[in-house]
Subunit: 340 residues, 2 copies
Amino acid sequence: MAKRIGKHTIMLPSKPSIIGFASVVGKAEGEGPLSKEFDKVYTDDTIDGCPTWEKSESALHKEAVTRAIAKADLSPKDIDLIMAGDLLNQCIGTSFGIRELQIPFLGLYGACSTMALSMALASVLVDSQVANNAVASTSSHFASAERQFRLPLEYGGQRPPSAQRTATASGATVVSKHTENTPCVEAVIFGKIMDYGIKDANNMGAAMAPAAAETIQSFLNDTGTNPEDYDLILTGDLGKVGSELLIDLLKKDFSIDISSVHNDCGLMIYDLENQDMHSGGSGCGCSASVVNSFIMKRLQSKELKKVLFVGTGALLSPTSTLQGESVPGIAHGVLLSSGE
Amino acid sequence: MAKRIGKHTIMLPSKPSIIGFASVVGKAEGEGPLSKEFDKVYTDDTIDGCPTWEKSESALHKEAVTRAIAKADLSPKDIDLIMAGDLLNQCIGTSFGIRELQIPFLGLYGACSTMALSMALASVLVDSQVANNAVASTSSHFASAERQFRLPLEYGGQRPPSAQRTATASGATVVSKHTENTPCVEAVIFGKIMDYGIKDANNMGAAMAPAAAETIQSFLNDTGTNPEDYDLILTGDLGKVGSELLIDLLKKDFSIDISSVHNDCGLMIYDLENQDMHSGGSGCGCSASVVNSFIMKRLQSKELKKVLFVGTGALLSPTSTLQGESVPGIAHGVLLSSGE
């Protein structure tokens, strides 16, 4: 049974295993450095000719979930719960994507922290035997996000260097009871909303960095561990600007130096220089696809043994920004281990 | 520890208690038949002069959560997790409402099913000792919802008789370990997405009724119980049209007659005839405020002993409707008992 330690960390003594994972991505993501890691790269962001970007995102989401379940040697009827969400208004990327699968559904909204949130919750529910098999998933699509949060693509708007690109990607994880020699989840932490008063919606990394710093320091503090105890502290997705800020904040406010073990999904998914991706990737699907490909495979091969994955989300809407509000951030953490 | 029975039902043997609850509502709700049941009735829907409807909704949400925590004789720092959401794009009613409380936050999206979803999840997490004290909450606001989902109030649009009115209301529940003689949660069920192809976004009741029918019949089937075993099977919120359809669907498809024990939060919150409220109330805050006032008080006084509360949500967005999509529904259930 789950055990709370310190202030916020939840240890999962049964160490639920990741028995299936999958990631599917769009064209630009397939041209990035992780190209060979994904289960499927679509060559056209319509995702096999869907008539709208929203339907494309739903198709992407469904594909990731279906593949993850199949890779776990299960079928949708074997899944007790799916917890999932996305960035679109009312999370329609998810609801229309998974409706045919007929799995009891727990809808989540954590902005770009949704993969960590869903994975943390799925692990907790498997640990406490609420579910035998649970799916965590999320998606994002560059074109549906641009239209909704910024401007339709046709407008040809320019973006500042601090802007991140919403990844066209989806990732899904199947969590089940502990299985030997399989990547597993040892602990989770749910974050608090942090708001440092950043008002620039083109600089989400800066808005989310304080939340990431808070969650990472809480986790290290609660568990009595140091950055060196991890092979990787992986944020998703702060991009270039936010990652630098996170490292500075942790040094300055908490005397914690994560620089030697830190990476960020938004920095990994694209070749920033050659793909002209400004500050890096973002969107729920970014960390979802990076974790459910490159990271899980390295945990399987034991190249990575302990990974603290911290998903970060900016809890704003275009309306709140127009109304002069700041950008609140949140970060949830999942301690992944290779399961030795 | 939680125990799955049948196909989808989760029994909570520790029977977590509702140690605090609160509801705050707007003007029209305060003029309805439940007027005296709420903790606070605002006389002006700006909620003490907030400059935008979205900020009004956030203020309402914060008030409900703060009151529920205070009524549980706790302070925000005693709460391990809050799970909450609302109808606004990116759930800003919630994130801006609760950010100052600094409670680890699990964002949910279940449309109008969010109160049942959050209460079910909070109960499960307390039962499995993931949280000692957890808050479940949600809100909605007539004016912010009209602007976002339909038309700004200034337009003066007419609504068909099947339309429901989004309640200006918020409700919050504090769940904690079992305490004698206190309302408690005995079981929960998370629903599947049901889509009967309804395309009329002004007839949400009809779109959600199949989901409610599915969840109710699953729960009765899993637990081997009959409608007569409950003092009340309470949906939230199908309104007049959806409630009639639910009763018919259960009779026709499953030979289950709930007509003598059924009521709907959307029918309870307004005086439909005299307040000209068409098919009744809706919005996350409708069931949140009815359950966290009238229902909890009747469970406390033991006038009601067993209540199956089934929250229903329509998982659409204005975009999905414009793109010709149908309206998928979902329903989550919570078995409340007087805790004898």
